[in-house]
């Protein structure tokens, strides 16, 4: 074999041994933390998730557990649509609008029937799920990523519920309503950026 041949072979070995640089390694741990971080990195998602918890706590039982149960289930259905590439118009507008509407519900101390609240939250959950589903990395460990993703979403709801429980006291009620107002304003800002 000539020197040139050896060099060609050496180059081939280098190419063969090289592996692609992967942001997501597909490992269970990386998949879980990648999924867990995903909902926390979008401020429009975060404020809407907290608003769901706040409103649930504000409405009291049974909304306090119905809304955080409805949201992940419907969000998963939206996520499936996003993963399968089924188009949904106005996803970003829907997400920003969810923060505005849910924030206003808390700020105005709105107390609609449970089914109205559940339908409203469920409708917005489709947009959130679709956006997340469309962004799920193809090379992550599917189960670990999804579990991390859902747990983070649930934790945001629980954070909202935790803060919303302050509504039992008059001063806390004002604080919760003020937080709802702030979320609505944040949603309006996100809507303004989209316009």
């Amino acid at each position: 074999m000539t020197v040139r041949g050896i060099r060609v072979f050496a180059a081939l070995i280098g190419l063969a041994a090289a592996t692609p640089a992967l942001a997501h390694t597909g490992s269970v741990v990386g998949g879980f933390f990648g999924g867990f971080a995903h909902p926390l990195l979008g401020p429009d998602h975060v404020i809407a998730m907290v608003a769901v918890g706040l409103w649930g706590a504000f409405l009291g039982a049974p909304a306090i557990y119905t809304l955080p149960v409805v949201f992940p289930l419907v969000m998963a259905a939206g996520g499936v649509l996003g993963i399968l590439g089924v188009p949904l118009p106005g996803v970003e507008i829907g997400i920003a609008t969810s923060a505005v509407i849910l924030g206003m519900m808390v700020a105005l101390a709105a107390q609609p029937p449970l089914w109205v609240a559940a339908v409203l939250v469920g409708a917005f959950a489709i947009f959130h799920g679709h956006a997340h589903g469309a962004e799920l990395p193809a090379d992550a460990d599917a189960v670990a990523y999804s579990v991390g993703f859902v747990i983070a979403t649930g934790c945001l709801h629980l954070a909202g519920i935790g803060f919303g429980l302050l509504a039992q006291w008059p001063a806390g009620r004002m604080a919760v309503r003020a937080a709802g107002g702030a979320i609505a304003i944040g949603g309006l800002m996100f809507l303004g950026r989209l316009a």
Partner: protein, 195 residues
């Protein structure tokens, strides 16, 4: 000679080990098998969902579903030793997890036969989706025994803890966990099927 050696080296570099699931925490043998159901997300999801479902139905249900799971697990591990090649076991686990999650959310009294009907495919799938990654027959058998024991202990622990939740708050927490399991399983299933 050099050319052949380089070719062999190149082939050795591009070949990858056949992997089922990496041993949990790198622990081989019995203890690796014991930890396996806790560290493989699809297994953990399905077993937790089944434990939630059975635990929430106790005392209305007896332990038939749990015995069904253990019997199916043992049968699946036996099939594994006979060289049965598993296919679609991950998908079976995710579908089962989604069903158990929804049933846990609904928290309705259900016939016990339904629990056994769901427990049996989960038991078989957990077993068949746990191929030992070792060459030694003794080591492989130890891992399978560990997996059987680990999955059984896992189910019993979840089931007994949930069965002891009597106050409304923790019961609601179990239902919220059911919704997370269902949502995570749906997303993971869609992600796997989309690949």
């Amino acid at each position: 000679v050099i050319g052949r050696a380089l070719l062999a080296l190149a082939l050795a570099l591009i070949s990858e080990p056949a992997q089922a699931h990496p041993p949990p925490l790198g622990i081989p043998g019995f203890f690796g098998g014991l930890l396996h159901p806790f560290f493989v997300p699809a297994h953990a999801l399905a077993v937790t969902g089944l434990g939630l479902l059975i635990g929430m139905q106790i005392p209305h249900w007896g332990r038939t579903a749990a015995f069904g799971f253990v019997a199916a697990l043992a049968a699946g591990l036996g099939m594994m030793t006979l060289g049965v090649v598993p296919r679609w076991m991950g998908e079976v686990l995710l579908v089962s997890a989604a069903i158990t999650g929804v049933l846990a959310v609904l928290a309705r009294m259900l016939p016990e036969v339904l629990g056994a009907t769901i427990a049996i495919p989960i038991g078989i799938a957990v077993a068949l989706d746990s191929p030992p990654e070792v060459i030694s027959l003794r080591e492989a058998n130890l891992m399978l025994v560990g997996t059987g024991l680990g999955a059984t202990l896992f189910l019993m622990a979840v089931m007994e803890v949930v069965a002891r939740l009597k106050r409304p708050g923790p019961r609601l927490g179990a239902r919220i966990l059911g919704s997370w399991i269902c949502a995570g399983a749906m997303l993971a299933l869609a992600l796997q099927l989309a690949r």
